[in-house]
Each structure stands twice: as C-alpha cells, then as structure tokens.
Symmetry: none
Subunit: 197 residues, 4 copies
DNA sequence: GATGAATGAGAATTCATTCAT
DNA sequence: TATGAATGAATTCTCATTCAT
C-alpha cells in the first residue's frame, strides 16, 4: 500500500519552500538541495513532484501570472472613475512581504526572456489588463465620466505600464509603506485629473 | 616591441561582444567562452581585460547607470512644462536596438538584487531623477506653469516610476515603434493635464 | 532508502587512493580526477567526502602528524638507556611501503611551509618528541644510566633532528632494508656510547 | 648589431630573482611572470635565457648540489678527529638567510622526487659526502684517533643523514641562531665521544 | 635582443539529475 | 514512496609558452 499523499498539496508546499529559498539565497544561487531542505524533503523527493527545475519555475510563473490577472482584472466593469481607481488603488496595495518577491520574480523571469512562449504569455497578461482598462475607459466615456478626447486603447496600455512601474519600484527599491501610499495616492490623483479634462 | 593595444578600446570591444552574446544566449547562459568567441579572442585574452566575469558585469552596470543618468537628468532646469516634457519625451525615445537590452539588463541585475551596494546605487539613480523632476516642478509652480496643489517631492518620484514602467514595457514586450510613440504621446498628454489642473 | 555508506570508511578509502595517486603521478601533478579514478568514484563523489583538495591535504597531514606522534612518543618513560633505544630503534623500523611516502609528504607539505599555522604544528610535534627524549634523559641521569655532563634539553632536540635525518634519507634515497638496518644499528650504538661517557 | 649581453650573467640574475620570488610566494605558487618582474625583465625575455620553467629549476638544482658538495666535502683528508669536526661544524654554520631556502628547495625538489635522474644525482651527492666521511674515518682509525670497532662505511652514511637532519630542522623550523649553535655543539660532542670509545 | 599581448590546455569546483536501496 | 549517494557535464579561471612587433 503506498502512502497516501496529496500530490497537489505537496507541490504547493514545495513551491512555497522554493520561494522562501529564493528570498534567502537569490534565485540563481538557489539549488535544488536548498529548496528540498527548506521543504524538509530529500533531494530525490523533489523530483517526484517536479520533473525538473525548469518545470518548477514554470509552475511558479503560472501561479504568479494567475495571481496578477486576478488582482488586476476585475470581474465587472466600473460605472464611475472613482470606482475604477478605488479598485486600482486596492490592487496597488502590495504588502511588504509580497513586494520582496518582485525582484525575485524578475531574476527568475530573466532567464526566460529569451523564451518566445514565456514572453507571449507575459505580454498577453499586460495586454489583457490594458484591455480591461480600455473597456472601462470606453464605458466611462459613454457615462461622461472622462474626457472624450482620450484614446482608450493606447491609454489603457500606458496605464498598465505606469502602474507596473510604480509597483516595480516599490519592490525593487524597498520603498517603505508610508511613502508608497503617498505615491499611489498622488499617482491616482494625477490619473484622475488627466483623464477628466 | 609587443603589439600596441588600446586597452580601453579592447575593453569596449569585449563589452560590446558580451552584450551581443547576452542577446544570443541569454545573460545567465552566456559563458566566458562564448563572449570570447563573439569578441574573436581567446578565453585567456578575456581575462587580460576583465579579471573576472563579475568585473565585466559591474563594468557594464556602471556604463548602464551612467547612460541612464545622462539621458534622464538634464543639465539645466526647464522654464515651461512643455520644455520639460519635450525633454522627457526625447529621453523616452528608445531605439529598437537599445530596447532589446532592457530585459538583458534585468536578467543581469537580477543576481545583484541581493547586493546592498548595488541596490543603493540603483535606487540613488532613480531618486536623483525623481529629485530632478521635483526641482523642476517647484520652479514650474513658481512660474505658474503647474498647479500649486501638487506635491513636487512625491510626484517627482512617482513620475520616474511611471516613466520607467513605460520604458520597461517597451523593452520587455517588444512594443513596436509606432505603438510606442503613441503611448509616449498619450502618457505625456496625461501628465501635462494632470499637472496643470 | 539510499545506499548506506560508512562516511568515515569512505574518507579513509579516498585518502588511501589519493596516496596511491600521489605515488604514481607525484603530489602536485595529481588531479582530483586522478584521485577519483584511483578510488573508482566520480569526480563529484570526491567532493561529497572532502569539500576541497585543500581539505583532503589537511586531513592527510593530520593523520600523518598523529601517526608520527604515536610512533615516536611512548606512553611511559624508560628506566634504562637500552629500553629507550630499543623503543627508538623500533620506531625507526619503517617499512619499504611506508618509506615511499616520505618524499610525497615533503612535496605535499612543501606548499604549506609558508603557512604559519602548519609550521607551528609541525614544529610542535618535533619539539614534543624532543621533550620526551629530554625527560627520559633526565630520568636516566638520575638513574645513573647516562653521563651527568649532557644537556638533556638541547640534546633531546638534537636527537630528534638526527633521527629524522636518518628516516628522511631512508625515504628519499630508497635506502634498502638491509643497509638501513645496519645504519640504524650503528646510529644507536653511537648514541649510546655518546650518552654514557 | 645586437646588444652585447652577458648571457651567463643574465642567467645568474634570473636565478637570483627566482629564488627571491620563491621566498616571497612559495615555490609552487610562483609564476614566470613574478620571476620576470623580480628580475625586472619581460616575461618573454625570460624565455630567451631559460627555454622552460623546468630548465630553470634544473639549473637551480644543479647549483644547489654543487654548493652542497663544495661545502661538505673538503679538498683533503683530516689528520685528527678534532680537525674533522671543526670542518663539519663550520659546514653546519648556516646563516639565517641561507636557512630560509631549505624549505624552498624541498618544495622545489618535491616535484622531482619522481624523476629517477634527479634522485640518482641527489643520492649520489649524499653518498659522496658519506664516502668522504668514511675515508676520513678509516684514516683516523689508522691514526688511532677513533675506535677500531666502528664500521666506517655505514657510519659515514649515517653521519651524513644525521647532519642533514640537523640542517633541515634548522631550516624548516626556523630554529634561532643561538639555540642552533648549542645544538650543533652538543651534536659534535656526542659524535666525538661516540666515535672515540 | 626585448617585449608583453595572445593563446588554450588544463585544473578545481558546482549542481541538476539519476538510481540503488 | 522516499531517500540521499553517486554522477559527470559544464563553468570559471590560471599560467606556461608562443609570437608579432
């Protein structure tokens, strides 16, 4: 009788452990051994759940993408500009803990920037978020909430980039919570005014 | 008499070759051998000019920082908002060629995100650019060019992040030249309106 | 369950193999590869037992020192000159096999002659042996076994040097067993007479 | 017209420089570059005077052997035991400076302990010194200076070993001048008594 | 003769992956 | 299933030697 093991749970455990290890040692310097140790399993056991390091990374990547998608694309459209930016503001509230992973993900993704497949998926994520903004903009134009002069499509994509920039700087430069909230506030105020007039 | 060699020129050649190699193979997978091959020199010759791979990377890093600083901090302050954004717009005009290196730099920097020293320098660069914007904002407020309601300090730093976000997306997602110009235009328009009112 | 391995036994095996390899190729020309081959393990396996070549050498060194100490310092003092020299004579009986390693050790130690720590330990070994002789001399003087005119302290240290010289020549110059025994005999006779009168 | 260079003088200069370098860096860690620097010539110039590192070492070795031979084998036989040991005592007077080279030579020679040719020459040197002592012993027996019971041949060779041991310990363990003279004195006294009776 | 830049074979070490237990 | 010992390809770096100037 084989031991009954929740394969998915174990995979999740290993992913969690590997993230911890990445934080400790840096992504590229982290070895399978260290991940296994962090997960309190043997090196060989790791391979029962992930057939290679590559596979682990792509699993982490998928999770990351999924999370971003969930956080930045709302299930429904917003009726007012304030609602939209309330949502965006919330999405921007990234905890200290989470923000630490941002450079890690960059380091991890770095080695995949040559992979067409990876980049296509990554690009699609941001294009989709941009699209979501665009659709909201269109609706808000109809609702007379924002200026008719703006180009929803371009601006949607620009907005994503700019928001991403803010998030990245938060993570990369360890901008502290209070300064960061001010920055988010100011950014949103700027966006709002910019979109109205 | 031995061959007369321009040491600095050779170092530049090797840096150029290594960037090419990074583009080809990805930063982390590139070996000294490949760099040497790209530079059409022997492995040992590489070490005559850079005492280690680490040193090469830090040389490239320094160059990169220097370039960013030169591009994004003007020698003098601007008298009008239009002038300021004309300057920013020019800085944002990144060629196809250059933009390809953006992911490369991220991959390269990735392994240094744990280095306090590196991050301090990197952060300083963006803080300095932010400062430059802040000082311009203060002047423009005095000149009645922009709204007195804005906080120059926070907004300066936010602006950098947002602009960086746009640049990064350009590089990461190979946004093509025409779409990118539109994005830059829209972003600048948004900024201008946001700052005036 | 993984293979059960006696880690200490394996370390001993590798040390043995490395000594064989040193004999074959000379200490400095012996590579980790050759040691691994001699031990019939893979290069990587070597590093499971010794974290570096340096560590291997220091392990061998320790063993060597320990052995010399055990061989040349008796657990108790001797009551008569004959007993003392019987002991010394036995210590001097070095097998053909063992004697081959003497030059090896010198080659190995050679690179450590700059290391203060190493030399201090090495010197201490011989000083301790010298001390042991000295203490025996003092006792033998009290027992009227040897002349009161000798200086136990200096002579103890001299004796070590001289005995070491004999051993070294045995090892370096492959002096054969029969000639060597005669030499040891003559040396002991000389010492005895020299000490009595 | 080629520059007139005293080839032999230059070779001597390089040997001197290499010895200095060996003292500084240890024999095995010394590179041709360092030797060249010490000799204030270019690396390539070194090869004009010694076709390889190996050749340099064998030149040094030869010199060393020659010196030892000159120091330890007198041009004529001694008529009394006192004269013999006066001579030996003088040979044993090794300056601080010289003694520093002893470990260096061992390190250097170490890599040649596998070379049959080298070892044969090295052995011959000590055998010759042993022979010289032997012949002196025979003469001294005839002169009734020393006991008829001793075996001149074995004892000659033993004496060399023992003397060599004293010299080696002086060099290896940096025994200071004053202790060393006492040791030499004691050793000679021991020898004399041992040989007479 | 003299120079020192260029070369590349060779060494130590790491680590993802395999596999016997 | 779980383990961790074993493996060896791959990488960085060194240094004796060559050779164009």
């Amino acid at each position: 009788m084989p031991k009954i093991v929740d394969k998915k749970a174990m995979r999740r455990e290993i992913i969690k452990a590997s993230l911890k290890a990445f934080l400790k040692y840096g992504f590229h310097k982290t070895t399978i051994n260290q991940i296994a140790q962090e997960a309190k399993i043997a090196k060989g056991t790791f391979y029962l759940y992930f057939s290679s390091k590559e596979i682990l990374i792509s699993a982490i990547t998928s999770l990351h993408f999924k999370k971003l998608r969930d956080e930045f694309i709302a299930k429904e459209y917003f009726q007012t500009l304030d609602e939209l930016f309330l949502y965006i503001g919330n999405a921007l509230l990234i905890s200290e803990e989470e923000s630490k992973f941002i450079p890690i993900f960059f380091e991890a993704f770095g080695s995949q920037f040559s992979s067409k497949l990876f980049m296509a998926e990554y690009k699609k994520l941001f294009d989709d978020i941009g699209c979501f903004y665009e659709e909201n903009f269109e609706l808000l134009i109809q609702n007379n909430q924002i200026s008719k002069k703006i180009n929803p499509d371009t601006l949607g994509r620009v907005l994503v980039s700019m928001i991403d920039g803010i998030v990245l700087h938060r993570g990369f430069f360890r901008i502290d919570e209070t300064q960061y909230s001010k920055m988010v506030e100011d950014a949103i105020a700027l966006f709002k005014v910019g979109l109205c007039k």
